[in-house]
Point group: C2
Chain length 356, copies 2
DNA sequence: ATGAAAGCGCTAACAC
DNA sequence: GTGTTAGCGCTTTCAT
C-alpha cells in the first residue's frame, strides 16, 4: 500500500471558468444559509438559529424557514459550521480492527449513544501496531473531532502527546489503568486471567494450555494466567500462539499446535470466543469429546458463545455497558456536566456453560 | 433512542473571557498555518504549498517549514481546508451493519485503496430499513464528502434525490443493476440463486429448503432460488426465515423451524455462511450427519467457511475485488481519469466443499 | 518560487 | 426575536 498523497483536483473543479472574483468558486451544493434566508425573507443568522436553537426563533418565522429549507433542498455545511464554532460534532473512534466483532459491537453501542447527542462517529482502524496508530491519530485530529474513543491503553509517546495537545476529552477502553490519558472505561485483563485460573483450578483441572492470538491484551491475559497458576504450583502451561486477528481457522491451528506438543486431558484457555470456536471445531474433527477429553474456555461471550455445540464457557465482557459508559463519560465533559468518574471498571463475569 | 439534538457548548468554550474582538475566539489547536509560517519566516500560503504541493516550493524553504511544523506541533485543520477548497477528502460509506463481517471486510478493502489516494472514510451504519438510511444520508452529506459508497441498490426516492443533488461520484455495491445512480460494482443475486439451484439439482438433490435472514438481498436470492427450482418441477421449498442480522443462533433457530415442519433428507440453502454455521451446529446437536442426513449450502465464503467441520460448501463473493473496484471507480472520477466502466459485475463462484 | 487579497459558509458576539 | 459585523483557518487567484 503506497503512502497517502494529496489527491489531484477533479477536472470539473479545476477548469471552472474564472469569471470575476468572488464568482469563480462555486461549490457543489450551491444552496447556502444565505439562499434559504433570502427565500424565507430573513437574515442568514436567523436561519442558523432556526436550525441550531429553534427555541430562540418565533414560531411563524420558523415555519417560513422550514418551508424555505424544504423548497431549496438545503443541506447544512458542517465543515463551515465546525470551522466557525470550533466544534465539529465529530467524535473519532479508533479500533484495532473493524473486522473483529467485539470491537465492532462496542463501537455500535457507543455510536448509538453519542449520535443521540448530536455527534457523528469517525471510525479509524489502527491494526495492532503502534506506528499505524500514530498516522491514524494525525489524520483523525486534522478533522478536529470534539472527542476521541480509543481501544486499549498502550499508545506511543508521540500519540499521547498529540492526543493531549488536542485538549479534547479522550476515553480509553478495553483495558484498565488508574492513570488514563483522560478517562478510562474498561476492565483488568490480569483480573480476568486470575479469575479464570481460579475457576478452573477450583473445578479440579490440573492440566492447562493456552491458545492465544498474538495481540497485546491477549498476551497480557496469557502471562497473568500463567502467573496465577504458578502460584498454585503449576509451572507448565503450553501455548499455541497464532497471528493477531482471531479466526476460526487460527483457533483450529492453535489447538493443533498444542496437541502436536503432546497436550492432552486438560483445559484450554482461549484468547477469544472465535479462537475457542475453532478449538471446538478442531476437537470435533479429531474425535475429541468436549469437555471430557478436552475442556475449552473462551473470552468475550460473543453472541454465538451460548449456541456452539457444546455451549462455550467463557468470560462475559459487557460491551453494551462499556459503549454506553464511554459515551456518557465523554458527553459529560462535552456538555460540561459534573464529571462522572474518570476511571470506570465495568468488570467481567464468568459464564459457566458446557465446555469447561 | 432520542432524536439527535444540537449539543450544548462545552463550558470551557462558553466562558472564554471576551477580550477585544478577534481575540476572543481561540481554537483548541491554536497552532495555525500562520504560526508555522511565522516561525519559518515565510507566508502562510507557502506553508500550505509545502504541505499540498511540495514540488512547488524550494528545497531549503521546504526544510525550514518542515522544521517549523515539527517544532510547533502543527496539525492541519481539514475543516478549514475543506471549506476553502470545496474538497473534504472524505468518502462516506454506508453499510447495513458494521457488526456483519462481510460488509466490514468490504469496507476494509475499500478503505485501504481509497486511503492510499489521500481520502478518509466516514462510515455510517444504516440498518436494513430505508428510513434510517435517509437520516444517515442527510447527516453524512452535511460533512460534504467527495464521494459516497453505498451498500445495495434500493434507496428511497428521497435518498436518491439527495445523493444526486450532491453531484459527487457514487458507487453502489453488493447488488447489480444496469441503471445505477452513478456506478455499480456488484453481482446479481438472481444469478447466484440460479447457479446454486442448478448445482444442487445436478448433484441429485430433489428436496430443498431455505434458512434465510429477513433482509432484502437475502430474500431476493430466496425468491430466485424458488423460481429456478419451480422451472425444474419442484414447487415446495419450505423456508425458515429469521430476523435480519445473521447469527449462529438464528441459523440454529432457522433449521429448528424447518425440521419442526417435517423437513428431512434434503439440502438447505442458507442466506449467509453464519446462518449455515448455525445450521451445522443445530444438525450436530441433533445428531444429524452432514451431508448424509442434511446437506448445507452457505453464502459469502467467509474466512471460517473452509474450516467448519465439515467444511462448508458455499458461494464465494470476492470482497477484496469488490472493495478495490469500487475504490478504483470512484478514484477515476475524483481524479478525472478516463472513466472506467460504470457497471461492473464482479461475479461469484461456487466453492464445493463437504457439506453439499 | 513566493506573496497579497479575497472569500469558502457558517456562527459568536454584540446591538437593537 | 432578529440583524450586523467580524472572523474561524485555509486555498484560490492573480501578481510579482
Amino acid at each position: 500500500m503506497s503512502e497517502p498523497s494529496v489527491p489531484p483536483r477533479p477536472e470539473a473543479t479545476r477548469k471552472r471558468p474564472g469569471g470575476k472574483r468572488g464568482t469563480s468558486r462555486l461549490s457543489r451544493h450551491s444552496v447556502t444559509l444565505e439562499s434559504v434566508a433570502h427565500v424565507a425573507g430573513v437574515s442568514a443568522i436567523t436561519v442558523s438559529r432556526a436550525l441550531n436553537h429553534p427555541d430562540q426563533v418565533a414560531a411563524q418565522t420558523l415555519e417560513r424557514i422550514n418551508q424555505a429549507i424544504a423548497q431549496t433542498g438545503y443541506v447544512p455545511n458542517l465543515l463551515a459550521g465546525g470551522l466557525a464554532s470550533n466544534r465539529s460534532r465529530l467524535v473519532a473512534a479508533i479500533v484495532p480492527s473493524i473486522a473483529n466483532l467485539v470491537y465492532a459491537e462496542t463501537i455500535r453501542y457507543f455510536s448509538e449513544h453519542i449520535r443521540s447527542a448530536g455527534y457523528q462517529v469517525l471510525l479509524g482502524e489502527s491494526g495492532y501496531a503502534q506506528d499505524a496508530e500514530e498516522q491514524l491519530v494525525s489524520a483523525i485530529l486534522s478533522r478536529r473531532p470534539d472527542a476521541v474513543f480509543l481501544t486499549g491503553i498502550n499508545h506511543s509517546a508521540d500519540c499521547r502527546r498529540r492526543l493531549l495537545a488536542a485538549r479534547i476529552p479522550i476515553v480509553e477502553t478495553w483495558d484498565f489503568t488508574p492513570t488514563p490519558l483522560d478517562i478510562v472505561v474498561g476492565f483488568s485483563h490480569e483480573e480476568v486471567a486470575q479469575a479464570v485460573a481460579e475457576y478452573l483450578y477450583d473445578k479440579g483441572y490440573r492440566k492447562f494450555g493456552i491458545v492465544s492470538a498474538d495481540d497485546p491484551r491477549a498476551l497480557l491475559r496469557y502471562r497473568s494466567f500463567k502467573a496465577a497458576l504458578a502460584r498454585r504450583g503449576i509451572a507448565d502451561v503450553p501455548a499455541g500462539i497464532v497471528p493477531a486477528v482471531s479466526s476460526l481457522q487460527r483457533g483450529r491451528h492453535g489447538l493443533a499446535i498444542l496437541l502436536s506438543e503432546g497436550f492432552k486431558n486438560g483445559v484450554v484457555f482461549c484468547s477469544s470466543d472465535t479462537i475457542a470456536h475453532g478449538v471446538l471445531a478442531e476437537a470435533q474433527c479429531r474425535g475429541l469429546s468436549v469437555p471430557k477429553d478436552l475442556a475449552v474456555f473462551g473470552f468475550g461471550d460473543q453472541d454465538f458463545a451460548a449456541h456452539t455445540y457444546p455451549a462455550l464457557t467463557t468470560v462475559r465482557i459487557d460491551r453494551p455497558l462499556m459503549g454506553k459508559k464511554a459515551a456518557d463519560a465523554l458527553l459529560a465533559k462535552l456538555q460540561d456536566r459534573p464529571a462522572t468518574e474518570n476511571v470506570v471498571n465495568v468488570g467481567f463475569q464468568i459464564i459457566p456453560r458446557e465446555t469447561a
